[in-house]
Structure formats: structure tokens, C-alpha cells
Symmetry: none
Subunit: 189 residues, 4 copies
């Protein structure tokens, strides 16, 4: 039996996510990572062959979460579904910012990273399809303002995710407020 385990893969990916959000892809350094874990820097290489694999694995895991939650949503009523989907996205708000750096991952040195990236791209498409389907239904059901092109409506909806929650409202409440604003607008009611 060797020494006791230094840190789990999951702990590693948790810290990775946190540091990636704080410092960005290029500012994410392994010294920082190991400094925020219990073991030695070199132990990281027991789990992943290089930095890009870690980043890719981290992003994949985040994406899996979003995918799972998003696909669990009941899509019977498309407007309710959109409200719930927004909540999901807000719960995993980081994923938007995080995945923005996905293209920086260097897949040249690692098949694993390449595979993870492939998964992420597929998932992206899946999510986008889900979203577009719901929006088309919403439009067909006459729930959307016809004078605004659908892509713009979708873009604004999706961009809501990054609105800073300055009042620190709990996510469900925050989600409702944003959805209300998106649907009804900021103007006089």
C-alpha cells in the first residue's frame, strides 16, 4: 500500500473550475492548483497527463451537469420550460464564461483532451437545438413579439445568464425576475 490518497479527481476538477473562472485559461497555473489542494504538484500527473487535459475534463464535467439538468426539464409547456431552463442555466451560470475559453485548449498533445472537447461541442449543439425548438414553439404559439427577429430574442435570453446578481437574490427568485424582465420588458406595465 502506498501513501494515502492526496486528493480525488473530483476535488481537483472543483478547484480547477474555481481557478479557471478567477484567472482565465492562460492564468490557470498548476502551481496555483496544487497550492489549493492537499497534495504535491506532481501528483496531479497521476490523474491527467497535462494541463490541457485537466481543463478539458473540467469543462466536460461542467457541460455534463448542464446537459443532464437541461434534458430533465419538462417541455410540455414551452414558456414554462423556458423559465425552468433559465433557472438551470443560472444555477450553472459559470459554464457560459468557462466554456468561452474552450477553443484555447491545445488538443495536439492529448487524445483525451480532444475527445472531451468533441463532447463539449456536441453538447453545445444539443443545448442549442433544445433552445431553438422551444423558441420556435413559443413563437408559433404566439407568445413572442413578432417584430423582433428570433435570433435576437434567443441571444438576449441567453445573455441574461451573465447579468450580475448584485442584490444576491436566491437563484429561483433571481431567475423569475430575469425571466419577467425578458418577457415583459423594463418599461411601464
Amino acid at each position: 500500500m502506498g501513501r494515502k490518497q492526496a486528493f480525488t479527481k473530483s476535488e481537483l476538477l472543483d478547484k480547477t473550475k474555481q481557478l479557471l473562472l478567477k484567472h482565465g485559461y492562460e492564468g490557470f497555473q498548476l502551481k496555483l492548483l496544487s497550492g489549493n489542494l492537499v497534495g504535491a504538484r506532481s501528483t496531479i500527473y497521476q490523474y491527467y497527463a497535462n494541463k490541457d487535459e485537466i481543463v478539458a475534463a473540467c469543462m466536460k464535467r461542467v457541460m455534463e451537469n448542464v446537459l443532464r439538468k437541461a434534458s430533465a426539464i419538462d417541455q410540455t409547456d414551452c414558456m414554462i420550460a423556458l423559465q425552468n431552463l433559465l433557472t438551470v442555466y443560472l444555477e450553472e451560470a459559470d459554464f457560459h464564461q468557462l466554456l468561452g475559453d474552450a477553443h484555447k485548449i491545445n488538443t495536439a498533445n492529448s487524445v483525451a483532451a480532444a475527445n472531451d472537447l468533441e463532447f463539449i461541442e456536441q453538447a453545445h449543439i444539443t443545448l442549442k437545438n433544445q433552445l431553438e425548438l422551444l423558441f420556435v414553439r413559443a413563437q408559433e404559439e404566439g407568445n413572442l413579439n413578432t417584430s423582433i427577429p428570433l435570433p435576437v430574442i434567443i441571444g438576449v435570453y441567453f445573455n441574461l445568464i451573465d447579468t450580475p446578481n448584485m442584490m444576491n437574490l436566491p437563484t429561483p427568485e433571481w431567475s423569475k425576475l430575469l425571466y419577467q424582465m425578458w418577457l415583459g420588458g423594463a418599461g411601464r406595465d
Copy 2:
């Protein structure tokens, strides 16, 4: 007298902005910068004493632009002012993303960088004040939905800047569309 300039300060800052947006603060490297200019890497040091000074100067210049445009707006009618202000912000859309890294600038080695950063912070406050004043007026004039807290309305408004313009509409048109969505909502009119 002397040899003629390899590149101007302005060209340098233009490239800096571009690279900063593409690679982020930590991914911004002088090798990249000089590679995108005509001269040698060491020539950069004729203009700025170190990397942080370059970044700070770049951000300051961007901020000056925004400040100038924003303060030129006619504030007689606050709703029109808000529409025009949004256009300004969209024209300078990068500034939001760019200045997000301002806090990473290391001012320990450079008074110039520290001064620039100070300017940026002051400008931030100025812009915020302008925005809040307009919103308070808009609210007092009964133009805003009273069931949504003002900070949320402001937050969503400001966050519109980062909405990706997927249809590549010209900025004035794009601005009008976003403003319309923000004010009137995506829902049935």
C-alpha cells in the same frame, strides 16, 4: 532626427487591445505584440517601461473614448439618452470585457500604470453615476416597470452590451433592437 519610428504609440495600443481581447490579460505576451507590429520586441520598451504599463495605457485609452462619447450625450430626455448611451456602449462594446481584467494589472512596479488605473476607476464611477441618474429620472417619470427593482433593470440594461450580434446588424440598428427588447420585452406585444 534619428531613425524613423517603427510604429506609433497608437498602433501599439491598437494591437494591444486586439490581443488583450483575444488572449486575455495573462495570455497577452510581448512576443505576440511585437509579432503583430513591424519592429523588434525590445523597441516596445522605448514606449512603455513594462507590460503592465502597456495594458494600463491601453485600458485608459479605451475608457477615455467611452467617457468622451458618453458625456457628449444630450440628457434632456432620459429615455432617448438611455437609447443613445446604449449605442455608445455597443460601439465600444469591447471595453466591458477589456476592463474586466483591470484589477489584474500589477501596479507595484510602475507609477504610470498606477495612475492610469486610478483614472480608470474614477471614470468607472463617473459612468455609473451618469447611468444611475438617468435611471432614477426614468423611474420618476414613470417610464419603468415598478415591480422590478431598479438595480435589476440597470443590470440587465448594461448586460445587453455583451449580447452577441449574430446577425451582424449595423450598430445603430442593433442598438435600437436591443433597446426595444429591453424596454418592451420579448413577449407578445
Copy 3:
């Protein structure tokens, strides 16, 4: 565990001292240092964060040696003490030259260097006090020429350290000779 050390901290400081004496503060380069050790240049940074820390640590260690030896001297008879103190100083003759560059150390980037420098300055004061006390006693006991100001006597005494030992006499003998010359003069006996 881990690979075995390329060189010890002590070896590093030994070489540092040697190179510092040969090339001076500004001529002391890490390339030179690593070239005189067994490992790679970057390995040096495992021990010290930057060049100034190395120089400061080196000077501190030298000063500690002198301080230890100087404070171990029996001060019952002040003239004998002065003779022995001279021997100590001659044994550590380099320290005079070495510490002459102490003020060049840049402490802005390193707390460790600043602390070491502080230690050195304190030690300087301690040594100076010891010396002055012995000289005052020597004067009071009527052992010194009253027509020469005490500071001059001290200055000449201390400056003896740097007299080049051209005949390569062993230190104790060399010390006795210098002391004799200092006390009795070069003139006809």
C-alpha cells in the same frame, strides 16, 4: 523522497560569496553561479526567489560568522582582545569588502532580503560598539597615543584588515605582525 539535491543551500552561498568577491554585486550573474554548481540555473530558484535574496542571504551568513567569532572573544584585557579581534577580522577578511555592497541590494521585491539586510545592519552596529568600547578602555588605561584622535586610531586599525598579505603568512602570524605595526609603528624601535 524525490530526487536527490543537486546542491545544498550552503554550497550555493559559498559559491555566491566567491563570485561576489570576484565580480562585485553588479557583476554577479546567476549564469555564473549555476555554472559553478552542478545543477541547472532554474534550480537556484528552488532555494531563493531572486538574485537579491541570494546576495542578502550570503552576506547575512558571512556576518553571522563574524559576529559569532567576535562575541566569543575574551575581553578581560582590552589590548589582548584587540589583538584577537584583529585575528578574527583577518580570518574573515572578505566580509569587509563583501558587505561594502550591501546597500546595493534591492529589497523592494523581497521581504526575505529586507530582513537579512536589517540583520546585517544590526550586526554592524553591534560590532562597532564592541570595537569602540575596547578602544575607549584602551585609551583610559593609557595604552594609546594621546596625540592621535581616537577615530583615527580606530580607522587605521580597522583598515589593516585589507592590507594585502603578499608574503602569504599564516593568519595568526600575519595578525601579530599587523598588530605590532599598528601599535608600535614602522619607525625605528
Copy 4:
């Protein structure tokens, strides 16, 4: 006619000497030098082909001064001559410290520097011979303590030059005091 002269060769060498004493050979930088003169850095190259030529020329000039003064001394009475020679050396006290770095001059790139260095070495020998001759005469005339080897007496004499003049006495007075101490010693008269 071109522009008016930026600085003279003599001014250049004066500053060089000053900076060389303050920063040492390796710390002597041309940016520093031009910063302490009225013209541009590149103007230096109108006078000297490279850094080492400047340093060599500076040292040569200092040496010439010492040589001229030393050879002007009346050597009728050797003890008086030694006293006067000490005064000369004290007047030009820097030369000792300055020339200590002469061996660091890189003569590979410059014949001029090589020639200057050659001159310096010859002058060194000349001065040494003068000194030794005087000392031998002093010994033969029975003016020196026979129990101390001549090289030691000479070494101590010469080393007096570097004694710090803490009381800031005028050089003639300072010289007398040092000579007195050297000849008669610090001990009870």
C-alpha cells in the same frame, strides 16, 4: 557647422570616474553616463568606440595624474619624500579603488583600450619602483623598525590610503596624521 558640442571628452571622463567609483565596473552603464551629461547617449560613440575604451581612458587619465605628481616629488630626504608621496596618494585616493577593476577591462575589441591598459601597467611598475627605492633607502638609513619585514611595512603604508577620513580633515592634515600613526604607531608615546 553642426550642432554645438554636447560635452567634452574631459567632462565625459570626469563623470565616468565618478560613476565607476560609485557603481563599480560592472555597474557602470552608458545610460547612467549620458544621463549625467548634457548630450545623447549615442554621442558618446563620437569619442570612444565602446564602453571598455571609456573605462580604460578614464583609468589612464587618473594614472597619469598620479604619475605626474609622484614624479614631481623631491626625493632628497626619503622620509620627507614618503610623507609627501602619501599626501599625493591621498589626494588621488580614488585611484587605488578605481584601478582595482583594471583587469576587468575587455581589451579584445579595442586596441585603444589595450594600449591604455598597457600604459597603466607600466605606470604601476614605475610607482612601485619609486616606492620600493624610497623604502630601501629609509631602511638603510636606519629609519625603520628592523623586526618587521619591508614588504609588510610597505603594504601597511600603501593601505593607509583607503583609511576612511571620518573626521573630514583637510588632506594635508589627514596625511600628516596617518603618516605619524604609521611611523610611530598607535601605542603610548
